[in-house]
Symmetry: C2
Subunit: 121 residues, 2 copies
DNA sequence: CGCTAGCCAGCTGCGCTACGCCCCGACCTA
DNA sequence: TAGGTCGGGGCGTAGCGCAGCTGGCTAGCG
């Protein structure tokens, strides 16, 4: 079970440390970037997965390195994600795509349930 | 003599109309972008050439379409101009490059002198 | 008189921060 | 087991500071 790590959920404080972005900024970005939607546990606390952290790092680059405005970064991020998704999908046959989709759905459900258990109650 | 048009100098009011950018904004950008340096006539009035207008349009795109911040647009513009210059230069042999450089210097001198005459007095 | 210059105080809203409140778990007391 | 209370993490949001103009001034020139 290699990807057990992928299932770990990080609280906002850890994400802030890992990414070097303040908690308040992470919360602010969440209001502005559809792509940044961590799940929340029973009491409303944010729980981040690896993919969320990647999104934060991508936004950080666009805003602080490339120096886009928020609105510009939104557009660019969407482009980048579409490109990445396109490349991903080209690697699969149709059947594999379907299988992959199902697996992802199930995994997401499990991960959400897990997060509730781990950090919610 | 086709490129006689290239020698025409535009006053700021015309540039504002042509580009759809307010005069005050053009003057403001001039303080922030090294690449936007129109020559000035004897009494200090700005005189724009085609290349200046291209720069303004490039800045406009970066700021209003791509939605960079000023600082980001500065960096991006420099990159774009270097790329363009690089591509240009690759078309020439060494000797041609030298000749081209000389010609450019001479042309610039002539254009400046001309602008003084035409619009300065 | 119209066009433009430079200067600069003022305005708007973007991007972030600081703060007050809430929830929860740990520990005590009975 | 219930009840009290203390501290720490996290929440949302009002407010702050500055980027990016705007517009009004005075002055020079033809």
């Amino acid at each position: 079970m290699e990807n057990i790590k992928d299932k770990k959920y990080y609280p906002i404080r850890e994400v802030a440390q890992l990414t070097g972005v303040r908690e308040s900024v992470i919360r602010f970005w969440e209001q502005n970037f559809d792509e940044l939607k961590p799940i929340k546990n029973r009491v409303g606390q944010r729980k981040y997965m690896k993919k969320d952290i990647d999104v934060i790092l991508a936004i950080k680059k666009l805003l602080y390195d490339d120096e886009y405005k928020i609105s510009g970064a939104q557009k660019r991020l969407k482009e980048l994600l579409e490109e990445a998704a396109g490349e991903q999908m080209e690697l699969f046959t149709f059947d594999e795509k379907m299988k992959n989709r199902k697996l992802n759905e199930i995994r997401n459900d499990l991960q959400e349930a897990l997060a509730m258990l781990e950090s919610g109650g």
